[in-house]
Symmetry: C2
Subunit: 214 residues, 2 copies
Amino acid sequence: MQRKYISKAVINRLPRYYRYLGDLLEKDVVRISSKELSEKMKVTASQIRQDLNNFGGFGQQGYGYNVEYLHTEIGKILGLDKKYNIIIVGAGNLGQALANYSDFERRGFYVKCIFDINPRLVGLSIRGIDIKFIDEMEEFIKLNQVDIAALTLPKAKAPQVAADLANWGIKGIWNFAPTDLHLTEDIIVENVHLAESLMKLSYKLSEKQNPADK
Amino acid sequence: MQRKYISKAVINRLPRYYRYLGDLLEKDVVRISSKELSEKMKVTASQIRQDLNNFGGFGQQGYGYNVEYLHTEIGKILGLDKKYNIIIVGAGNLGQALANYSDFERRGFYVKCIFDINPRLVGLSIRGIDIKFIDEMEEFIKLNQVDIAALTLPKAKAPQVAADLANWGIKGIWNFAPTDLHLTEDIIVENVHLAESLMKLSYKLSEKQNPADK
DNA sequence: TAGATTGTTAATCGATTAACAATC
DNA sequence: TAGATTGTTAATCGATTAACAATC
């Protein structure tokens, strides 16, 4: 669908546009101009127009953008019109939290199974999602069409599991382990590094106490 | 401590440097050149040297960088030599997962209390951390020196709670609610938007199926 | 038609990379 | 000293913002 090359900076902003448009939609706002949206989002109107025009003209001169239409179109760009099957690898607290987060389903992400090595967790289920022993993972992936694996396991185990998943045909990895996975080009990795996020907060807090000259 | 203005791009990379240096330290690596590190991290050596020099000369010509020293210095820049008291607001799965994540303590982040409105959770404790009723939060913050609040509560409640926390003297908010908090300048917000992270993964997956020309 | 606002080009700004003199 | 590698300046590249003609 997307044809021309889109910079990473633009892609990173798309989900935020999507969220704001969803909020507007809930408030029954029908149309919005780039200027109004820019004030809400605290970005420049120019950036919004520039970003959107990477994907085609969604607006109308003199009118602005139709909220519902733009929301739908950005959803399509983000691939939210498709369905994804997810497995969660690691049934610890974070894995369980993700399994419980039913909101993902609204966006087309379906958690199909959770895997762990801990026999005390195997056999349990969360929101009707089974926790299976990790040895059953290969077969499960081959029988079900699993697109994405969320890795919520210790750093030490992540690289091997990721390599296995890649071999078994997983397309994307949502990596919560605090390590970088070095896989082949054709497997997509999206990292969530909570510890690093907390460090950024910490940096900003100390900076506040010792501000820069500028 | 930090004097000159540091760009956001640099700050975002610091925790990753810190992580790689920590890994090297565990492997008892004593020194590393920007070139070696750049190969591991898949960035340019130039960028590493440029980034580090924002904070002063940590290396030595002809030698490279001492791993332990650089690790410590970046830790200081990130404020990891300080201690932070944290409260978690929202004792749902994600809040509980954060409370259970004992690794944060190693970095100086101490979870002191969890708050919720659900009477069925109040009175329980996680790893010895009490879950209290949210009405007790104001007093708790005034009695204990709380620096950071992690918000793991529904989007609808986040803005009001954040405003209260700001009034009660919280310095930083680690926001997991899928909304932007508009607070005064002097309160620091670091967002973790899991849904947006998943959308980026989704984008990259659909892009792979319909690649750009370039 | 007049007013509003997009789509898009041009100008500016900032971040990254390359190059190399300084120096360990 | 010779070799290695930093610290730092200069060149390049990319992203953001400003401006405005096109057009609804």
